[in-house]
Symmetry: C2
Subunit: 339 residues, 2 copies
Amino acid sequence: MATRQGNATILLETKPEIISNAAVVGKKEGEGPLGKYFDEIFFDGTLGLDSWEKAESKFLKTAAEKSIAKANLRASQIQAIFSGDLLNQCTGSAFGIRGLGIPFAGLFSACSTMSLSLLLASMAIETGAFSYTAAATCSHFCSAEKQFRQPLEYGGQRTPTAQWTVTGAGAAILGKRQHESNPYIDAVRIGKIVDYDITDANNMGAAMAPAACDTICGFLKDTGTSPSDYDMILTGDLGSVGSELLCQLTEKEHGINIRSVHRDCGLMIFDLEKQDVHAGGSGCGCSASVLCSYILNSMRKNKFRKILFAATGALMSPVSSLQGESIPGISHAVRIIKD
Amino acid sequence: MATRQGNATILLETKPEIISNAAVVGKKEGEGPLGKYFDEIFFDGTLGLDSWEKAESKFLKTAAEKSIAKANLRASQIQAIFSGDLLNQCTGSAFGIRGLGIPFAGLFSACSTMSLSLLLASMAIETGAFSYTAAATCSHFCSAEKQFRQPLEYGGQRTPTAQWTVTGAGAAILGKRQHESNPYIDAVRIGKIVDYDITDANNMGAAMAPAACDTICGFLKDTGTSPSDYDMILTGDLGSVGSELLCQLTEKEHGINIRSVHRDCGLMIFDLEKQDVHAGGSGCGCSASVLCSYILNSMRKNKFRKILFAATGALMSPVSSLQGESIPGISHAVRIIKD
């Protein structure tokens, strides 16, 4: 039976294992520092389809199918897939999962979706009723630009704090703990919405950093652990601006220095200088593709033993920003262990 | 420990109880047949705010706060709220929940959100780590028309199969079973996406009926129960067109006649003849406000003892429809019992 520490940190007794993981990305991501770790790189971002949205769904479907195959399972053996994305009405995930026949719990947690999906997929295993669950998410630079900013053809200038939405998807298959060699999830924390009144939709990192601070410091306190207990405290897509803010905030508000172990998927997936992505990568697919390739594969090789993964999301819409609303941030955490 | 029947039906051992429920609606809903059952009716659909979207969030927040108060709890005692809505990037729920300080798991399951949120909130209780969880959702006629159809000012004509998005919200507080007098959830089923190639976005009932058929018949078979075992098999917003299709489909595809016990929240909330709503009510707030008022209140008075609640969702977006995609349907089920 799972137990709770504090009001929001959940220790999982069954320690659901991550049986397999897969990530597929676009050309720019494939040319970045983590290129060799991805399962497949698609150099044509349309995947031969006639819309960016359809391509995004295909990215998700491909990552899900690859992770299922790597787990030596069939889709019919997965009892639930937890998935969401950034598109209006989350069609990226729904249309991607449509053909798989897997019971589907749709999520929306913006760019923190990968940690929320892992969290719920592991809690489902913890109930005892599910043998296998899946967590997956995706994003696509072109569908995101079109929906959130401007048509690509417009060639709009990007601010220095802007981030580059990752074209890609990541998926993981979870199951009851059977194999000691697999990484597993032993604790999770559902995040609270934190809003520091940031209204600049071109500075998402700043809007999300306070939520990451709340979740990470809350998790460390509830579990009685310190940053040095971890090989990595990994955020999703704070980018360069948000990452610096997070390190300042954890120190100032909680007296916790995470600098030596903090990494951010948005700073890992691209070479910020050479690839002209300004403050770094972003999007649901950013943390999903980094976690489900380099990070989990390195854990399987014992390079990392203990990671606190806290993807971050900005819960705004173009309409809410136009209506003058600030940007609520959220961050969910899962702790991943490799014995 | 929860157990699984078949591939997707989950029996909950701890039988999480529904401690309280609350529903708030707009003027038209208040004038309908269930008017006297709602906790509050707002005759000004803006709630004095300057946008429909802000009003929608306020509806959700009000329902959540009322349900928390009715459970004699404070928001800080709720360890997770599962919530989503129809607005782009689910801002209806995020901005509604922002001020409450409750850990937030964001969902998107279109109009099936109330059953998905109850399902996940009860599964969280089942893990043993959560004392109290909440499930909530909302919709607003004006924000939905603006986003999915036409500006209200345009005065567009509605087709006979069109449905009327409910302005309202419903919320429920779940907890470990303590009081025998409370209704409780003893089984759930996460739905699969079912797509019968319906492309008419003005006929959602037809698009969602096959998913409801799959979930309801799958649940009945897995649990070895028949329609006569239930006081009600309650769908969310199939409306008149979808409800008839559902009854035909369950009989034709599975030989199961549900006519005598089937009810649909979309047909209950409005008087179809007098209120000019065409095929009935719809929206996340439709099943949420009907379940969290008339249905659960009647269960508390022993009027109903056993209900299979299977809200239904259409996982499309205006973009997917314009791109020629068909409408994927989904339905999640929770069985609610009153001893």
